[in-house]
């Protein structure tokens, strides 16, 4: 069977589109590849832009509404660019019982933003997680991809303040 070629040209000559195309090719451009493709797109570009969604929709032969529907249904997909640094506070039950709700409130106050937002200077994005599965280390968080356990309020606020000052 010949390898199917992409039906549509990528929006730009950015090399990252090749990764996205590679994922779709692996699944023979089948509509079922949608979620996997969105994962690759977000991994490559950091978030999902309207032009990305349009490209994926056309490549997989899906209506844009379906692609947008999936992209907005799942929490993991983000349509907004992330800040330079990301701070994720776990709000799973174990962490919540150990006070992560208060920790989140303190960071919100320190940064002057709400959970899910990015500071106006684009430095820090603050997110809450459903459960990162590090319950043995509650309260836990993820700072720039590094899991931190048994978080104390002081060290956490210092970390966030450092990011902003840098």
């Amino acid at each position: 069977m010949p390898t199917p070629s992409p039906r549509v040209a990528p929006p730009s000559d950015d090399k990252r589109w090749r990764l996205v195309e590679a994922t779709m090719r692996r699944y023979n451009f089948a509509p079922a590849a949608l979620i996997e493709t969105l994962h690759t797109t977000q991994e490559s570009f950091g978030f999902l832009e309207p032009e990305s969604l349009l490209f994926v929709a056309r490549s997989l032969g899906l209506p844009l509404s379906r692609v947008l529907g999936v992209a907005t249904f799942y929490n993991y997909f983000s349509m907004k660019p992330q800040g330079e640094h990301t701070c994720v506070i776990c709000l799973g039950t174990a962490c919540y019982i150990k006070g992560s709700g208060q920790l989140l409130a303190q960071v919100e106050q320190e940064l002057g933003i709400k959970v899910g937002e990015t500071t106006p200077d684009g430095k820090v994005s603050l997110m809450g997680a459903r459960c990162i599965g590090s319950c043995g280390l509650a309260p836990a968080g993820v700072f720039d991809g590094q899991v931190a356990g048994k978080m104390a309020s002081a060290t956490m606020l210092a970390q966030v303040a450092n990011w902003r000052a840098a």
Partner: protein, 561 residues
Amino acid sequence: MTPEELNQAAEREATASTVHDHVVGVCTSTACLASHSDKLKKEFDAAVKAKGLKNVRVKAVGCCGLCASGPMVYVESKANGSSEAATRTYANVASEHVPAVVESLGAAPVAALACDTTQPFFTRQHKIVLESSGVVDPERIEDSFVVGGYQALLKALTTMTPEEVVDTITRSGLRGRGGGGFPTGLKWSTVSKAVGDRKYVICNGDEGDPGAFMDRSVMESDPHRVLEGMAIAGYAVGATEGYLYVRAEYPLAVKRLKLAIKQAERAGLLGANIGGTFFSFKVDVRLGAGAFVCGEETALIASIEGRRGSPRPRPPYPAASGLWGFPTLINNVETFANIAPIVKNGAEWYAALGSGKSQGTKVFALTGKVLNTGLIEVPMGITLREIVYDIGGGPLPGHTIKAVQTGGPSGGCIPEAYLDQPVEYETLVKLGSIMGSGGLIAMDDTSCMVDVARYFMEFCMTESCGKCVPCRVGTVEMHALLTKICEGQATMTDLEQLEELCEVVKSTSLCGLGQTAPSPVISTLRYFRDEYIAHIEHKTCPAGVCSGLKSGAVKAQEVLA
């Protein structure tokens, strides 16, 4: 790989390991990785290399269980000439301890780091699912061979008929470990009898319950065990393709599963003509994308098909019409992890464990306000008190345990007075909770039960997929009422309304998410009604959690200090 070749591979690996007098196992599961155990492993490597120790193997292993004391390290040493190995376990190991641990090989242990493995946390457990977790290197299939990996698969393929496999699982009494407790053998036999051109096996690794990390640990620590279980299931029900649906939030599990699949395919234990037989089975990993509802089987199937994870009414059940409309077997990670030992040791061996209608063991993620938090596996029938007080080490100093929460957002809170009840599916349901997937969260006098109920309702409200009205609207309304109570704005009429809504949402929602969303409220109302009344009538929060209200007998705890 034929059974003989598998035995030879296992022997080769075992012989190769005899040159090592000492094995240093460093836990590289998520919890310990968070304390930089990957760096620690490299430092051990470097230290052993620098000293030119040829008889020491440093090995990355999966979860050792006591996550709260990570990074965990164990040293297995053989006394001169003896084949018996003695094990030392170390907790809270840091970089500066590496030289001392390496120095101590063959000498007295490092006392300062020693972790007492005679404490109930270790001795009261009974490991079947986790027997190889923390022992094998999850990234090397040869390590699995030594502990009997894939023996059960080849045994099933070469000595049993598919019907015999289904019969073995049925007689073992194994029930779905995802929480529902549906008899696994019955599910398998339904799928095996279903008619379809193709059949699928799906492993549900979308562990969405907040406060639960059992499946993650199994997938990260012993991925081959899960794959073996799926392949046996494929043989039993007549499927040739399997999907492992894993949360995108578990990147390490995804990485190790993908690697494990490649290794198994190369060894001829997955893919075409497994073990030289006519049976072929391939497994593919599919990523979730952060939707709790995808743990529901029909929503999960929709997600694998690349659509929004919305459930659909059942019947038809996936066993009759599942993925792409074909008969599909869906089981949870832990269920699949139980399969290989059952096939290897026989149904009777498994059925002898446990009590009542609950056989075998159950893995729990023990967390919350207890001294020892971590991953445990206990025989069914053990009492909750033994779990919390013996294994968990009891409450934090100066506090008392108030309740235990099982089953996550679909479960309930069991008060201290009922902790002597055994862990069995039926008993937990009678107590107003469920077995659940295995989250077990201890709460003490600083936890407000109304706030806990509100927390779970917030979760269900956000995670409701929005397809059916009772769940979409009901959870929002119940959350608003609970918030009102927490803020001291509610009246007794609100409480009545809340109870009525609980019933409506429970009995009219489309899928399990909505049907069980009121459970945390119903169970806390059943056992802790006085706390609700205190919030409403006396504007007091007995635990001192709800801000804006007077705190009761207990002062607000400085949790963060």
